[in-house]
């Protein structure tokens, strides 16, 4: 596996800032398993850790000694930008609505199926309801700025796994 295949795991500002030099580390060589794991852990860190979040898409490259970068960091911190989530309030509200409405809707559907005598189907929907909605929530929030194709692959793979586990639980 090549490094550029994993770069999309990182948030867009991070990719814009470090992507080229990051991929260049490997000079198109295949990654070892330990490096793949390190990249995945690093991507989670870049998304979740406030400390690792890249402040600006076009981080300044100082042409003078000192000065510029320090002032940018100071103003970014003063403005509270380092406390921002990696998604906007619109995505957050939309994701929360989808999560709550979808979860309760699926639970109601599960109860209806059980009432109609479709015990296995009702149990399947019940077990799958929260994981499915949580995956859709993540898709609308943390992953919303990712390229659509790998994001679709990830969502389909996660939903398939949930379906498999819920199916086994419902048997």
């Amino acid at each position: 596996m090549k490094a550029d295949r994993l770069l999309w795991l990182y948030p867009r500002p991070w990719r814009d800032r470090y992507g080229d030099e990051f991929v260049d580390l490997f000079d198109a060589r295949d990654l070892m398993l330990s490096q793949v794991i390190d990249i995945i852990v690093g991507a989670v860190d870049a998304r979740l850790s406030r400390d690792a979040r890249v402040q600006s898409v076009s981080a300044p490259v100082s042409t003078t000694a000192g000065g510029g970068t320090e002032m940018t960091t100071l103003f970014a911190t003063a403005a509270g930008r380092d406390r921002q989530l990696p998604f906007g309030s619109r995505q957050g509200v939309l994701g929360a609505i989808v999560l709550m409405v979808g979860y309760h809707g699926l639970k109601a559907l599960a109860e209806l199926l059980v009432d109609r005598g479709w015990q296995a189907a009702g149990t399947f929907v019940f077990y799958a309801s929260f994981p499915v909605m949580a995956i859709l929530f993540l898709n609308l929030t943390l992953l919303h700025d990712q390229p659509s194709r790998p994001r679709a692959h990830l969502v389909v793979a996660a939903l398939s796994l949930v379906a498999l586990l819920a199916g086994l639980a419902a048997r």
């Binding site: 490094a3 991070w14 470090y18 080229d20 030099e21 990051f22 991929v23 260049d24 580390l25 490997f26 330990s34 490096q35 794991i37 390190d38 990249i39 995945i40 852990v41 690093g42 991507a43 860190d45 870049a46 400390d51 690792a52 979040r53 890249v54 402040q55 981080a59 490259v61 100082s62 042409t63 000192g66 970068t69 320090e70 960091t73 380092d82």
Partner: protein
């Protein structure tokens, strides 16, 4: 409550050691990421993974302990800042004290 010094490498948690290695690597001049990993492996015997390397670089850059230099190349070099040099000196001094105490205790044992 644990006290942390914002000017200390300890504040970087699991990235404190990789960050120390990066500061150490830049102490003799600017280097890009690949050159840093090579230098760190040669000096310490540890090969930093790419996620760890850039996790530490992002933290050091945010604290202005290192800064990027202009480059037309994909490989962007970084240099140690004055603040980074002070942090590195403080950590090396602390390590020297620990080494001295350890050697004294081993000699007395």
């Amino acid at each position: 409550m644990k006290k942390t010094n914002p000017d200390s490498l300890n504040d970087l948690g699991r990235f404190s050691e990789p960050a120390l290695f990066i500061l150490l690597s830049l102490a003799d001049g600017p280097k890009h990421g690949y050159a840093m990993t090579q230098d760190i492996e040669q000096v310490t015997g540890q090969k930093l993974g790419p996620g760890t390397l850039y996790g530490a670089i992002a933290r050091l850059e945010a604290r202005t302990w290192i800064e990027p230099l202009p480059s037309d190349d994909r490989r962007r070099p970084y240099k140690l800042t004055g603040a980074g040099e002070r942090v590195l000196r403080a950590r090396l001094e602390s390590l020297r004290a620990v080494t001295r105490i350890g050697q004294t205790r081993l000699a007395d044992a």
